[in-house]
């Protein structure tokens, strides 16, 4: 009780070190809250777990036979790195929608009126969603293994592929966070907030070799970030030259962070 009263009493500014500790603890609290919510809503679990599995099975057994690739181990080896990247990107739908809901309902107002670290709401959302995304990625790879996928390039590059998928997902997550906060309306976010993810992921090397596309489409598909990331992941998983696509991926990802982290933070500060 005394400790509670201490917190309520006015009001000496805590030291910088204490503030830093609180920022971490607040972020973990928000992370915990978000993960709890995730486990309570069956629809979220289906979205994160079942849907990617269906995608893997669909492409592996239905479309895959019609897609010619020159990859060791066949289409399944071509597919899994691509679908892993796509799944990481799509997992960020949840980020945008959750932030839009919290904004609209006044949850963010409540948190911002409290003496907690202001960065924690966004940071906790990002950490929780990264955790969620990692689970999804591991499920995809597990299912991939069950249907014939194999890492052909050793353990460390395999881990590097997973890490790259996560970093890519976090980058998209920043765009999603900005989108959710800027639009601030669940239905709008759901309807068109992230619709650009469909062309971005499908008009890439994720599912089919770009050479099979018409020329004008190849110009786009060859020069967009998802293709660079997927090509890097494929090289890490299966062998082949990593560097040419890795540096382009890195430039894109850094660019996304540099632009969208400040945008998301600004949208959060202004959110009303």
């Amino acid at each position: 009780m005394t400790a509670i009263a201490e917190h309520a009493g006015p009001v000496s500014s805590p030291s910088r070190r204490v503030q830093a500790v609180w920022a971490v603890s607040d972020t973990l609290t928000i992370t915990r809250r978000n993960l709890l919510v995730w486990t309570r809503v069956p629809a979220y679990l289906v979205f994160t777990v079942v849907q990617p599995v269906i995608f893997v099975l669909l492409f592996r057994y239905v479309f895959g036979g019609a897609i010619p690739v020159h990859t060791v181990g066949g289409y399944v080896n071509y597919l899994i790195p691509g679908i892993t990247a796509q799944t990481a990107a799509f997992a960020t739908f949840g980020t945008a929608i959750a932030l839009a809901i919290e904004l609209k309902k006044g949850v963010i107002d409540r948190l911002r009126s409290m003496p907690m670290a202001r960065s924690a709401v966004l940071a906790g959302r990002l950490v929780a969603d990264t955790g969620r995304m990692t689970v999804t990625i591991l499920i995809i790879i597990g299912v991939g293994y069950a249907v014939g996928f194999r890492f052909d390039n050793g353990f460390v590059p395999a881990v590097a592929m997973i890490v790259l998928a996560i970093v890519f997902g976090v980058a998209i997550c920043c765009i999603s966070a900005f989108t959710g906060l800027a639009i601030g309306d669940e239905e709008s976010v759901q309807a068109f907030g992230l619709i650009w993810l469909f062309p971005l992921t499908f008009l890439s090397s994720a599912f089919v070799p770009i050479a099979t596309m018409p020329g004008w489409l190849q110009a786009f598909a060859n020069n967009q970030p998802v293709t660079y990331v997927v090509n890097t992941m494929r090289a890490l998983a299966l062998g082949g030259p990593v560097w040419p696509s890795l540096w382009k991926s890195a430039v894109w990802l850094i660019g996304i962070f540099v632009v969208f982290v400040p945008l998301a933070v600004r949208a959060y500060r202004r959110a009303s």
Binding site: I4, A8, P10, R33, V37, R40, K105, D109, R110, S272
Partner: protein, 354 residues
């Protein structure tokens, strides 16, 4: 005494010349407020009057354009962190995580107030008991009734033992029973020494709970005082009756126009006609009966009554409290209260006293 305990001698909330615009919309055009410790100030006004903007500035969610606001001795702009440590905010909708249980919601808020886990758990139980939610503590909040959700939201705003509590329309959308329950809770908080600023569109709520009332319209304070003081400004007693035949309202208005001090007010939807009669009281009532009889208008429920805050609002603003203050502004839909919520009313209205 004043040297020893300077903060105590200041009001809990002090607002001077506060302004805020959103583009061309002047939400606040220079308002002043002062709320002594342990009292309730009701900020009354229609949608779009600037109530919520004022609350958002006072709770550090929004920066003012001009003026000054001080809460518990701390400037809301320069000492926002200190302000946040002494306030609680409960908004118009329940800002709780619906998928989580009531207990989890409160524990998480406790952790964010930097209580240890055992402290946060204890505080959650205390509040769940106090707000009669202990039986529902482990159910997801989305299964709570509207009244329970609002109680949980209020409980969440109290986790940090705030000295000053901001309640933005705490009973909007609640059924009458939940509303009375919320009033009881607010009264007991005040009895415990909490200072409360509440915004409301409901005049009876302000009448019931507030020590002081401030009426805001179009971003300006247009009246301030106790409920009694405001009522005495409404021009004394009111003669009121209902005309069942809506076609005859105009005749009724004409018949009684000369008995009172101001213009009659008529609601074309409910058929309620009223007129302020100052201190003429029963004489005016007799005049009204004679005039209406002479005009052959049938009425129901002819009464002489003390003015309500509704009358005050009408007198001060020229429109009813739950009309949308701003033409073209966002409306919440008519709420079916007496004289409530129809813009057409303003046009038909026979009265424009100023």
């Amino acid at each position: 005494m004043s040297q020893v305990n300077g903060v105590r001698d200041q009001p809990a909330i002090l607002v001077e010349g506060l302004t805020k615009s959103f583009g061309d919309v002047h939400a606040l055009r220079g308002i002043d407020l002062s709320v002594p410790h342990g009292t309730v100030l009701a900020v009354l006004g229609p949608n779009g009057a600037g109530k919520t903007t004022a609350v958002r500035i006072l709770t550090t969610l929004l920066l003012p354009d001009g003026g000054r606001a001080v809460v518990e001795g701390h400037d809301v702009v320069r000492e926002a962190a200190a302000v946040r440590r002494s306030i609680g905010l409960s908004g118009q909708s329940a800002a709780i995580q619906e998928e989580l249980t009531g207990r989890e919601n409160l524990e998480i808020i406790g952790r964010l107030y930097h209580l240890s886990w055992p402290q946060a758990r204890r505080r959650a139980v205390e509040l769940l008991e106090e707000f009669d939610l202990i039986d529902a503590a482990d159910r997801a909040a989305k299964n709570y009734s509207g009244g329970m959700q609002r109680r949980l939201d209020l409980a969440a705003s109290l986790v940090g033992h705030p000295h000053v509590l901001f309640l933005d329309e705490p009973t909007t959308g609640l059924d009458p029973r939940s509303r009375l329950g919320m009033w009881d809770i607010i009264r007991s908080l005040v009895a415990g020494g909490t200072t409360i600023l509440l915004t409301t569109q409901y005049l009876d709520e302000a009448d019931e709970l507030a020590d002081e009332i401030v009426v805001i319209d179009h971003g300006l304070v247009i009246a301030a005082g106790t409920a009694e003081e405001l009522k005495s400004r409404a021009g004394g007693d009111v003669v009121e009756f209902t005309v069942p035949d809506r076609q005859r309202i105009a005749d009724a208005v004409e018949a009684i126009a000369s008995i009172g001090e101001g213009e009659p007010h008529a609601d074309p939807h409910t058929g309620v006609v009223s007129i302020g009669v100052g201190s003429r009281g029963s004489d005016a009532l007799i005049d009204a009966v004679r005039s209406l009889d002479a005009a052959d208008v049938v009425t129901r429920g002819l009464t002489l009554r003390r003015p309500s805050l509704d009358d005050v609002f009408l007198t001060l603003t020229g429109h009813a409290a739950e009309d949308d203050g701003q033409p073209g502004g966002r409306r919440r839909g008519a709420r079916g209260r007496r004289r409530g919520g129809n813009q057409a009313e303003d046009k038909v209205e026979a009265r424009s006293r100023s």
